[in-house]
Symmetry: C2
Subunit: 109 residues, 2 copies
Amino acid sequence: MDYSYMESYLKAISDHNRMLILKYLSKDSLCICEFTELLDMTQPAVSQHMRKLKTAELVTEEKRGRWTIWSLNVRHALYPMLIHLLSLLPEPEITVESLEAEGKKVVCE
Amino acid sequence: MDYSYMESYLKAISDHNRMLILKYLSKDSLCICEFTELLDMTQPAVSQHMRKLKTAELVTEEKRGRWTIWSLNVRHALYPMLIHLLSLLPEPEITVESLEAEGKKVVCE
DNA sequence: CCATTATATAAGTGTTTACTTATTTAATCA
DNA sequence: TGATTAAATAAGTAAACACTTATATAATGG
């Protein structure tokens, strides 16, 4: 693990919205359109955040029909540290469950 | 620990030169003038990095005569995680010992 | 007191960041 | 096929960042 890699990794985490994204992903795999609801953010903004997280190898993506399902990269060497770090952060007010209650949860099939 | 605090903390670490500074501090307390040698960096640049680290509560300073001695803040909640993180990074080529050999190590008294 | 030394601060600059809106790509479905 | 939906990409912008040089502050020592 060199300094450049660590710098990129930490920079990818060091953002309020990306920490929220990672916090959500620590519970569930989700798609972009769900994050736009959860974070009240435009679709390109979410998309660009996901690209940063993917470049830093924090997340993985899986295409399923129209959707792209994003997950935490559980194989990353720093995954245990990431989980610990996320555990220190409070639960977001808007939950995936509240999206489901509003019927906004996407079911990808 | 809220999202803003975590963001500031991680942003403070997410820099190549500040990671080096923290790596050095994990072994020794040091002053600004030593870092200018160790990092081959101007004094104001080092000074500004230290201010960022101090604002994020990663380091503490102690004035001693003309010098300011900087140390890791061992009382920080994330100190154990920081130490683990630093342990993953390689030792810098230029060491405090090599400074001593050149007679550039400051002895503050 | 004056020169030196250690550090801090100020002001300026080029680069990066996190967004925006507009458009493109690609898959689904009526 | 054509409309809709999910996501990516492009281009533009304001703010933050990491430096630079110049200067100020403050302590030491001759």
